[in-house]
């Protein structure tokens, strides 16, 4: 190693190759980056871009079959080629890691406290058991776990996802590491919990003075937290710079496209998304030239022959981009905003005429699951209030976005609707007819009008059937002749942008975005009026999402469809929904037109949810006030008297005695406040929250 490094961590020309029977796969191809003391570096990339592999290489946690070349320097000393014993000493004390899935990262048979104490004692043998336990409790307190003395005695399965991730952070900071690597630490969590965890991570960083490397696929997460970011694509860093440089003046067409294709909570709904066509290359057989060239709108011939090196922009060594036309882009010769063609909206003459009438109405829908105990003699010990009096309606040609965190009952709600059976209580009306009074035959006929698209396109397509049979399946129920079936399949495939010649292929031969198009084609083949979309884009990569969202918007315009769009991603909902209903613990707490809900939320929960969503714009992100909800979503088995949000409600804390009394005893009914219907006693005082958060 010729030169000494004065960075905390420096990765030089790192390459990682996995030998495989069908030819080796180079997951990381020449990555260079560095992190200084106390710095917050964000590494962003889609799945398969090599972001996790490169950080696992730093920790020395790659499988032994991986071939690593290049160099990794930590505090000036190389980490490669060191023995496992030496590395183990360094892990935890020097570098620590926070994994994506905290359940598999914690040992299920030891208590949380014991696992933290173990991390402490490993690195400080002089530490007594008692002192280690005391320190463990202290650490749990730092990461914000309530009642830490008691919680230290709990096992991982007794913790919720957010609390486990807090415990992981506690273990990570136990030995005051100088570098924390967080590998997608919030991907498995809900937005409100994500906001909490990111805050804890910032706090941990401030307390220990450690540098942080945050690896994520979510540009929004890094925008508000990181100092510098590096964007990875096909195993290489393609752009790096400070957050402001990368977000406001991106120079790599990939970054530009990624930023344009993301639905952004601040701007969504006003403009059409710009899809990033194509899909990431296969690392097993990379063509020569820039790996992004096949998807790049401004690729020139040279791009297909030479892979551009990371070149600095305007002589700034920290801001670099791997594009041959970087000077044209940074100089303004190529307009960033016009780099990608904005897809044209559907022409007026192609739009379907829709008469405004209610196509789906749900009134006071209830679904409780009994909790039973005992295997022979079952007795009820309570009930899960999955759906507890939900009402909404959808007009033809419109989209209702149903949003909420996981466990709020939104999936159960749509399953209840799709069953078309008599609900436990309440009423479901489709096309003006109450489903509970229908005969089996009428119900089957009605199923033509209401179809569903599921979240995971792989799981919702039978792997054993060619896609022509999958798409035609709804038609078989209604005894459509075979010739007619294959004609309709071909038509609908064309409609969703699939080549009809691929009809005899199997689902696994398609990419994620294409599979979701197959799912949409299947839903549309019966010419339905209502399509229920259950998180249709959340399983897709960011760059593919935009294409599917645009398709859904176009189809709605062309066919006059009504959508019930269920999602946890508020930015996507804002992009597509006309009306929004926010669910919390089996109830709708606020509903109204999309613009009202997003611009003037009246319920404290809606307000907190919106403020928790990260926006991929660093300037905006810094100026935003974040309302962090305390605690976790209560279990739906709990019987909370009065308003069921009051246990976490920031507004409840601010109310006077009488107001709090009202929340505790009276269940708030939905009422009209400024254009949206809100279930809160005190939404007139919602501005108290803004005042409270603006005070330090």
């Amino acid at each position: 190693m010729n030169s000494q490094s004065n960075h905390l961590l420096e990765v030089r020309d790192l390459s990682v190759t996995f030998p495989q029977p069908g030819g080796s796969v180079t997951a990381v191809r020449g990555v260079n980056y560095h992190v200084d003391k106390g710095e917050f570096l964000g590494i962003v990339g889609e799945s398969g871009s090599g972001k996790s592999v490169s950080s696992l290489a730093v920790m020395g946690l790659l499988p032994s079959s991986a071939q690593i070349s290049g160099d990794i320097l930590f505090e000036g000393r190389s980490l490669l080629g060191r023995s496992d014993r030496e590395l183990s000493k360094l892990r935890g004390e020097g570098i620590s890691i926070i994994f994506q899935d905290p359940l598999s990262a914690l040992t299920p048979v030891y208590t949380i406290g014991a696992q933290i104490a173990e991390a402490l004692q490993l690195h400080d043998r002089a530490l007594s058991k008692l002192a280690a336990n005391a320190r463990a409790v202290e650490l749990l307190k730092i990461v914000g776990i309530p009642n830490p003395e008691r919680r230290a005695q709990s096992f991982p399965h007794e913790f919720s996802g957010g609390m486990r991730q807090r415990a992981m952070i506690a273990i990570a900071i136990a030995n005051n590491p100088r570098l924390i690597i967080a590998d997608e630490p919030t991907t498995a969590l809900d937005v409100t919990i994500q906001a909490q965890i990111l805050e804890v991570l910032q706090k941990a960083k401030d307390l220990t003075g450690a540098a942080v490397v945050l690896i994520t696929h979510d540009l929004g997460v890094v925008a508000g937290n990181a100092d510098r970011i590096a964007v990875m694509y096909a195993g290489r860093i393609v752009e790096t710079g400070t957050v402001d440089q990368v977000f406001h003046a991106p120079t790599m067409p990939y970054t530009i496209g990624l930023l344009r294709s993301m639905p952004n909570l601040a701007t969504a709904g006003h403009t059409r998304l710009v899809p990033l066509e194509g899909r990431p290359p296969q690392l097993s057989n990379l063509a020569p030239g820039c790996p992004f060239a096949p998807r790049c709108p401004v690729a020139i011939d040279a791009c297909r022959t030479t892979e551009p090196p990371l070149t600095s922009i305007d002589g700034n060594p920290l801001n670099a981009s791997a594009c041959l036309r970087v000077e044209e882009i940074s100089g303004g010769a190529l307009n960033r905003a016009a780099l990608y063609p904005v897809p044209a909206p559907i022409a007026l003459e192609e739009r379907a005429e829709v008469a405004p009438k209610t196509v789906l109405a749900v009134d006071q829908l209830v679904r409780h699951f009994p909790l039973t105990k005992g295997s022979v003699f079952k007795h009820s010990i309570g009930k899960v209030r999955a759906v507890d009096g939900v009402s909404f309606d959808i007009k033809s040609g419109q989209t209702l976005g149903l949003v909420g965190e996981s466990g709020c009952g939104k999936s159960t709600t749509i399953m209840e609707i799709l069953e078309l059976a008599k609900p436990q209580s309440g009423q479901v009306t489709v096309n003006g007819r109450d489903v509970s009074t229908m005969s089996a035959k009428e119900r089957r006929t009605l199923r033509q009008d209401i179809q569903v698209v599921f979240q995971d396109p792989m799981a919702s397509l039978d792997p054993r059937l060619p896609i022509q049979d999958i798409i035609a399946e709804p038609l078989t129920v209604h005894a459509v002749p075979a010739r007619e079936r294959s004609r309709r399949v071909r038509d609908v495939m064309e409609l969703v942008g699939l080549d009809p010649s691929m009809a005899s292929r199997y689902p696994h031969e398609f990419s994620g975005g294409q599979r979701q198009r197959i799912g949409i084609a299947r839903a549309l083949v019966t010419d339905p009026k209502i399509v229920v979309l259950d998180e249709p884009v959340s399983a897709l990569d960011v760059s593919i999402q935009a294409g599917v969202i645009n398709l859904l918007e176009d189809l709605q315009e062309k066919l006059g469809l009504s959508y019930l769009f269920v999602a946890h991603d508020l930015a996507v909902v804002r992009q597509i929904a006309d009306n929004v209903a926010v669910m919390y613990l089996g109830r709708i707490v606020e509903s109204g037109p999309s613009s009202e809900i997003f611009d003037h939320p009246q319920h404290p929960y809606t307000r907190a949810l919106l403020s928790a969503v990260p926006v991929p714009d660093p300037t905006l992100e810094r100026s935003r006030q974040r309302i962090i909800l305390q605690g976790e979503l209560p279990s739906p088995t709990e019987d909370i008297a009065g308003c069921n949000f009051r246990t976490r409600c920031p507004l409840y804390q601010l109310m006077d005695q009488d107001g709090q009394e009202q929340c505790r005893t009276l269940d708030p009914a939905r009422r009209q406040v400024q254009g949206s219907s809100v279930a809160c006693h005190h939404s007139e005082h919602i501005d108290l929250m803004t005042l409270a958060t603006s005070q330090p």
Partner: protein, 308 residues
């Protein structure tokens, strides 16, 4: 570990040159058939099995002896030009006996294996998919049949079966060979039931039997096909055991089982009595499993060769 997601899997479409690229949609059966044709294992197995079957049908034609003929001049002779596989103690021609035995064993094996698998598939899928009281009742029956020692039952029932023809033995063997597989299928179906594509079919209004037929059974078909092919060998072995004790194939009928049973005592001294039927048995079972293996890969596009 999240790292596993990061290693890109090879693109199945790119690495699969034999994808059918015709403008006209091809039916599923034709797709399976075309994939089957491109597997060498299938050809080895099907040619082997075909040879055995043809041999069993026409093998007696060139032979001078019938299975019931006794050559009193050549008792216990080793293989010669006259008796290709040698003769037994009382002068029966082993070649003729092997062929006649093979016919019976093949018929029993080829019927019992698939029959048991079909029972297992249907019963398991119904129990797993329909659930509720149906499931409870079916599991109870399966458990009951499993705890009954089948050999004793065979012995108990053998007087009845002796009066019936050997065909009854097929149903008896199939009737006691499906339970374990049915439990496996039931468990598989229970997890399949929660998969989105089954839910999707339900919400489309597809009826229960069609869902079981179109979605559940094809998705457990690899298991059923393995079970059916292994069942061929298993059935032949069960038949051997029964015949050995005198409860299976009755004289004057001959099966590979009775032949092996009568020849095994002489396996060391006069190996031809034992080796020829045994070799035929091994060859038959091997060919059947090669066919089953290839069929599994063809039916399930995500298993085996297609995944590499």
């Amino acid at each position: 570990m999240s790292m596993l997601d990061e290693i890109p899997v090879a693109d199945p479409a790119a690495g699969n040159p034999e994808v059918i690229q015709s403008p006209k949609p091809v039916s599923r059966f034709r797709l399976v058939l075309s994939r089957l044709r491109s597997t060498p294992r299938f050809w080895v197995g099907i040619i082997g099995l075909g040879t055995i079957v043809l041999w069993a049908i026409f093998g007696l034609a060139p032979n001078a002896w019938n299975a019931s003929d006794l050559d009193t001049f050549n008792m216990g002779s080793s293989p010669t030009a006259l008796h290709w596989f040698g003769t037994s103690d009382i002068g029966e021609d082993i070649y003729a006996q092997t062929i006649v035995g093979l016919r019976k064993s093949l018929i029993i094996g080829l019927l019992v294996g698939p029959l048991a698998a079909i029972i297992a598939g249907v019963v398991g899928a119904v129990a797993g998919y329909v659930g509720g009281w149906w499931d409870k009742a079916i599991v109870w029956v399966i458990d009951l049949l499993l705890v009954l020692p089948s050999l004793f039952l065979f012995i108990l029932l053998s007087p009845i079966f002796k009066s019936l023809s050997w065909v009854a033995l097929i149903f008896l063997l199939a009737g006691f060979g499906w339970m374990i597989m049915a439990r496996v299928i039931r468990a598989q179906t229970k997890s399949l039931r929660e998969r989105d594509f089954i839910k999707a079919a339900r919400f489309m209004g597809v009826d229960t039997w069609t869902i079981i037929r179109r979605h559940v059974l094809p998705n457990v078909s690899s298991l059923l096909i393995i079970d059916a092919t292994l069942g061929v060998g298993g059935a032949i072995l069960s038949e051997t055991t029964l015949s050995f004790f005198g409860f299976g194939i009755q004289a004057p009928d001959v099966s590979l089982g009775t032949l092996l049973a009568s020849g095994q005592s002489a396996a060391a001294t006069r190996p031809w009595l034992f080796v020829f039927p045994a070799a035929i048995l091994v060859f038959t079972v091997l060919s059947a499993s090669l066919v089953g293996d290839a069929l599994r890969d063809a039916v399930d596009p995500t298993s085996g060769v297609n995944r590499e």
